[in-house]
């Protein structure tokens, strides 16, 4: 008895071919549905074409608030939301949408792509809000501010200005921070140094050889998320920056010189290292005598450190002018939700920004009170170091466009600084590569979307 393969293999019939073609076309059509529209406009500039009139709109009775709970603020946020519900009758679904700014951005962007499940209010960081703006993901707050009569003039100007573009307000400050100079008072005393932060980096360079009580005198913050942010301090002190608005200045001789000084502090002079984890933790463990970390780490450092912690302004450089960048997160409203939800979301932003709310938030986290009228006496009694952070705001400036407005620029800066500080790479080569990358990001991803 013979069995051949022919009995099971049928030649492809015309019907079969047509069926397969239909299935293929169906699959392709299925694959193409959903996602972005192809060949349309660039979608840039935020959803502000027809400004909504909120005067006749009733706020939604239930909204969602997406937060990453900056500075370990989950409990204080929950308490504030409870107060908000009691005050307004609006129920707030408090959603942990990520454990950091990147994760919440990931979820927010994915929700944009799915066009579903968007919150009424979202926490957005300094490096993310502009991307939401150019993608049209967030609504301008101006009509809502006007409708609810939010007292913008009572917010700290620098923090409000961070979210302005094209004469519109795209978010309002929430968990706002600046970098702060932390020093170990015990180490400084043992080294015979004054109980204060150095006024300039040159001064600290002179002090560093005496600071031998820890493993190293100074710890640069870990690269991820901090290199691009905190090194603006060194660059600005030298009279340069990552960029001058949209012109990248990484290869300016002054920038190269400044970054060479940073590299020398690690390799040639050996008084600094780069932290492989959160430098605030490393500092609190007594590994280094000084570091720069966010004001948002202040409460955690004070609780964890077994020594007396001193804080001060960031050291300046030879060039006069502000050397402290702002940072942290604000609150924004998605463009694609209903006006009712937007109005309720704006009411929540207004409440979270009220003087009492911002003091409660600051007391729990170490972030700065964003309102000038906030009564911080009780806060200062408990944590007097916060005053330094607030005072430093007067000499803070908004960040370089390159860091906060270019997608992925912060990661590229971290990589470049990593090459310089951890692989002793050539400074000029690393910065030349960085400049080219940043220019490419600008020309391909940002410039086409700017009006």
């Amino acid at each position: 008895m013979k069995h051949t393969q022919r009995s099971t293999q049928q030649p492809l019939s015309r019907r079969g071919l047509l069926g397969m073609a239909s299935a293929g076309a169906g699959a392709a059509a299925l694959a193409a549905c959903g996602g972005p529209s192809v060949g349309g406009d660039d979608g840039g500039g935020g959803g502000d074409e027809d400004a909504t009139d909120y005067s006749d709109i009733e706020p939604a009775t239930e909204i969602a608030f997406w937060s990453s709970h900056p500075g370990g603020s989950k409990d204080v946020e929950a308490e504030l939301l409870k107060q908000f519900t009691e005050k307004t009758g609006i129920t707030v679904n408090h959603v942990t949408a990520g454990s950091n700014y990147e994760e919440i951005a990931q979820r927010f962007q994915t929700a944009q792509a799915a066009k579903d499940d968007l919150p009424a209010v979202v926490v957005l960081s300094d490096v993310w809000w502009f991307r939401y703006y150019i993608n049209g993901n967030i609504a301008p707050l101006d009509p809502l501010i006007e409708q609810l009569d939010i007292e913008i003039s009572d917010y700290r100007e620098t923090l409000v200005e961070d979210y302005q573009y094209e004469d519109k307000q795209w978010a309002l400050p929430y968990g706002r921070s600046t970098p702060l100079f932390y020093y170990n008072k015990d180490h400084f005393a043992a080294a015979g140094l004054e109980d204060r932060a150095p006024e300039t980096w040159q001064e600290f360079e002179e002090w560093a050889p005496k600071l031998t009580q820890g493993e190293v005198a100074y710890m640069y913050p870990d690269l991820a998320g901090y290199a691009g942010w905190t090194l603006q301090n060194v660059l600005w002190g030298q009279g340069t920056a990552w960029s001058d608005e949209w012109t990248m200045t990484c290869t300016d001789p002054t920038t190269i010189e400044a970054m060479q000084w940073v590299q020398d502090s690690v390799y040639s002079n050996g008084w600094a290292q780069v932290s492989s984890s959160d430098s605030a933790d490393t500092f609190a463990a007594g590994v280094c005598s000084a570091t720069i970390a966010s004001t948002g780490s202040l409460i955690g450092v004070l609780e964890a450190a077994s020594f007396e912690v001193g804080v001060g302004f960031l050291p300046a450089g030879p060039v006069d002018g502000p050397v402290c960048p702002t940072g942290g997160a604000g609150l924004g409203i998605p463009a694609e939700i209903s006006p009712e939800e937007q109005l309720a979301g704006a009411m929540l932003i207004q409440f979270m920004g009220e003087a009492e709310s911002t003091v409660a938030f600051s007391g729990a986290t170490g972030y700065m009170p964003v309102r000038k009228s906030a009564d911080i006496s009780e806060l200062l009694e408990k944590t007097p170091q916060i005053q330094t952070a607030i005072d430093q705001l007067e000499v803070a400036r908004t960040q370089d466009y390159a860091r906060v407005f270019l997608p992925g620029a912060d990661q590229e800066m971290a990589n470049s600084v990593g090459t310089i500080l951890t692989a002793e790479g050539d400074v000029e080569d690393a910065l030349t590569d960085l400049q080219a990358t940043l220019e490419e990001i600008y020309s391909s991803q940002v410039e086409p979307k700017l009006s």
Binding site: Q112, E215, T422
Partner: protein, 321 residues
């Protein structure tokens, strides 16, 4: 037009040699039965086929479509750019570096897991007290969460206050910058990945070792073959089906390793294997969804090619007992 009827069995079970012409055949009954069979088949298979089509093939096709777009994640519009994302990946130093890291990571972790797993299996195959506990302990890391494992090992590798740095200091050495130095970061994640997965290889190899025919090994022993000779000439060749199975599964797993890399090296400096690079491009700050999709497609094609090559060529060298 004539049709050939389906051969039917006789009462005795024999199939008639001769085919019969069907003039007034029992075609309708056969056809009805075929239709009924087809309906039963569809009733049973359709739910699964639908689910697979929706949740496997649709995303796959969608991903291929996205890979041909210049699309910023979060943007509602995109531009069709054909194969430009692929061109960029294969011509940029960043893309080629990611490919190089993927190859190094896969070769080292597959080789390391299998080799150490085999040695561990040989040790666990011996009749020593407490071997059951040792087997459980060896397998335990495999079932642990990659996130938890990554966080614990980060503490161990910490150059300032990690256990490893402590022991290195005891012998007068300073700790490398495991996270910051890209080369050391790759070594670090490979070590942890092998540690986590070698228990899986060990247990699978142990199963293979315990199913080896004892008569063949005893005969070899009677013929004077020592343990090493028996291992190389009998055990190892007879373990080739196990080795083949492990080669496929560990390679596919290594190529898709993500959790440890993401947790231990969030920036991906030196550890951005393809799947991690795909994540970083879409969600790590760049928001390049189209480019990220292209990297995923490259990985998908690699997985397919490797699997086909293994099944078609490597399996030929496998000895099935």
């Amino acid at each position: 037009m004539s049709r050939t009827a389906t051969p039917e069995k006789t009462a005795g079970g024999a199939t008639p040699e001769k085919t019969v012409e069907s003039k007034h055949p029992r075609r309708p009954r056969t056809s009805r039965r075929s239709r009924r069979d087809a309906l039963v088949f569809l009733a049973l298979a359709l739910p699964n086929i639908t689910l697979i089509a929706l949740f496997t093939y649709r995303p796959l096709l969608t991903n291929i479509y996205y890979s041909m777009l210049d699309w910023t994640l979060g943007s509602t519009s995109a531009a069709f750019i054909g194969l430009d994302n692929y061109k960029e990946f294969f011509t940029s130093s960043a893309g080629l570096t990611s490919l190089r890291i993927t190859i190094i990571f896969t070769l080292v972790t597959v080789g390391g897991s299998m080799l150490l797993g085999l040695l561990l299996a040989l040790a666990l195959n011996s009749k020593i007290p407490g071997v059951t506990i040792a087997r459980s302990a060896a397998f335990a890391p495999y079932v642990l969460s990659g996130v938890g494992v990554g966080l614990v090992w980060l503490f161990i590798f910490d150059p300032s206050f990690g256990v490893l740095a402590y022991f290195l200091r005891m012998i007068g050495l300073s700790s490398p910058q495991w996270v910051l130095d890209p080369d050391m970061a790759l070594i670090m994640v490979m070590v942890v990945y092998i540690w986590k997965n070698l228990g899986y290889c060990a247990i699978v190899y142990l199963g293979g070792l315990q199913s080896l025919p004892t008569d063949v090994l005893q005969a070899a022993s009677l013929d004077g073959a020592g343990p090493v000779r028996r291992f190389w000439t009998i055990s190892l060749p007879l373990l080739s089906p196990t080795t083949f199975f492990l080669l496929i599964t560990t390679m596919l797993n290594s190529l898709q390793a993500f959790d440890l890399l993401r947790i231990m090296t969030p920036t991906g400096r030196g550890t951005n294997a393809l799947i991690f690079e795909s994540y970083l491009q879409a969600f790590g700050g760049y928001s390049r969804a189209g480019y990220s999709a292209a990297i995923s497609v490259v990985l998908f094609v690699m997985l397919i090619v490797i699997t086909v090559v293994q099944i078609r060529y490597v399996e030929k060298k496998v000895h099935y007992a």
